[in-house]
Amino acid sequence: MTNTLHRYGNAASFYDDYVVFAIPSRGKNDKGSVPKLKKFLEMALPFKPVNLGDAIHGGALRPCRDMHPTSHWNRDMTPDFRAVIDGVDAPTTVAAVFDSRVSAEDFVKTVKEADLGLCVNISTSIDGAEQCCQVAGIPRHSIGYSLGFQGKTEKLPNTQVLMLTTMCGHGMIGTSMAKKMIDWVKEGRRTPEQATTYMARFCSCGVYNPARAKRILEDARHSTK
């Protein structure tokens, strides 16, 4: 999943970023996969994910098409995991995002035991994924390494903006938006939680990690790198 592969940061910075996703392969195991995808997401709930998502309908935080003017003062910032699970209606990629290795390990063990037959991947640091596999007693099948960004890297923004925007690898979170959210947190106009929620609503597949984003914004409040 290149969408989660090229998140910016070193291995240590992914200690709170574990994306476990299930994907049916076209013509191989996609037929009848919808109930299995729902079950995959359902199984994640006991392990307290920070986000769930499907690539058609989005994540647990979504924009509102008919917002009431008074909701500016009382916006719902609660992730709606049930809406994600209920909304899966076609073969697609579904993802559960965790902010702790232990949760990811326990979830992977549960997924293995459920034997859904879907292709399952873990996107995090290389060691983090290997450890999840070891705990579950699974030898890794394949690895897709990120070699990072090359070429005209002078077009890229600063480190913290990059860490925020690359959590939506589809590019739905604009550089200017992330920069603005850092500025607003620095100015005290919004809390990191609020700023994170604004950005997460733009992620169209639900792999944005609000816990990691909040941490990055807290760091950026004190020092912009």
């Binding site: 290149t2 996609d30 917002m67 990120s146």
Partner: protein, 281 residues
């Protein structure tokens, strides 16, 4: 995408939201305006922003009063107060912008959304990359820079000249008018997109050669490139072949997606196109 000028109140929220920075408030007409040359039709403005349906005249009046009083606005930053964005009916070749920029739209060539590729994510059932092989994903335009097809073609030409084979189930390959030379369709070359992935597969012994080739061409390509390398692990779940090559070349391997091999083939017949909405993240 277009902005309905009769609805827009020039609040400026969308100027930050646009991943390509293609929206600005025109000082003459005092309305948000889209630079259609830079717009990649990602629909982030339309789908990503929450919408209110306020009366534009009322909002403009209030904004004028507050501005005269030098009061700072503190609106929600992800909201279009008057639902002013309206999708255009896209026709060829502009429609390819959306196909490569809006992850909700499936690629016609592969039937999948996102970037339209499965890579090693389904390698446990597809067998796409076998032991002794390396699958490269060369992604252009990410993150947040964008790319023109004529820039991508510089790389596909060089790769084709090196005799590599392009992945057939890939949206870029499907847009080649001549796959052996890596030539893209002429009518899409001047279209800008959010990002696209060129996929190739070579034998392990060509790993260094391909990376050197990509590095050699990179300076000619006016965008950022994200390089991914996919490998099949051995029976112990280890990669003792490719990782050492990459580390020797100076790459610090920090992040990866790891296919844990739980997939099973459960069908033999390929599905009909309309059955698929499977997305690639």
């Amino acid at each position: 995408m277009k902005i309905n000028a009769s609805k827009c109140v020039a609040c400026g929220n969308c100027t930050y939201v646009c991943p390509m920075g293609a929206i600005y408030v025109d000082p003459v007409i005092k309305r948000a305006t889209i630079d259609s040359n830079e717009c990649v039709e990602c629909y982030t403005c339309f789908h990503g922003m929450s919408q209110e349906h306020l009366n534009p005249t009322l909002v403009r009046g209030m904004r004028k009063i507050f501005q005269m009083m030098r009061l700072r606005f503190d609106p929600e930053p992800d909201v279009c107060p008057t639902a002013a964005f309206e999708p255009d009916e896209l026709v060829w070749p502009r429609v390819v912008r959306r196909a490569f920029s809006d992850p909700r739209v499936p690629h016609e060539s592969t039937g999948v959304q996102g970037r339209g590729t499965e890579e090693v994510k389904t390698n446990d059932v597809s067998g796409r990359v076998k032991e002794g092989e390396v699958g490269f994903t060369i992604e252009f335009g990410r993150p947040g820079v964008g790319v023109w097809f004529h820039e991508i073609q510089k790389m596909t030409w060089a790769l084709a000249k090196a005799g590599v084979s392009f992945e057939k189930k890939n949206p870029i390959t499907s847009l080649m008018s001549d796959v052996p030379t890596g030539t893209l369709r002429a009518d899409i070359l001047n279209e800008k997109i959010m990002s696209a992935i060129v996929e190739i597969k070579v034998t392990v012994d060509r790993t260094e050669e391909i990376i050197h080739l990509v590095r050699e061409i990179e300076p000619q390509v006016d965008t950022v490139i994200a390089l991914g390398v996919g490998v099949r692990c051995d029976s112990e779940g280890e990669d003792t072949v490719v990782a050492p090559i990459l580390e020797r070349m100076g790459y610090s391997l920090e992040r990866a997606k790891t296919n844990i091999g739980l997939g099973r083939i459960t069908q033999t017949e390929p599905p009909k196109q309309e059955e698929l909405a499977g997305a690639i993240m």
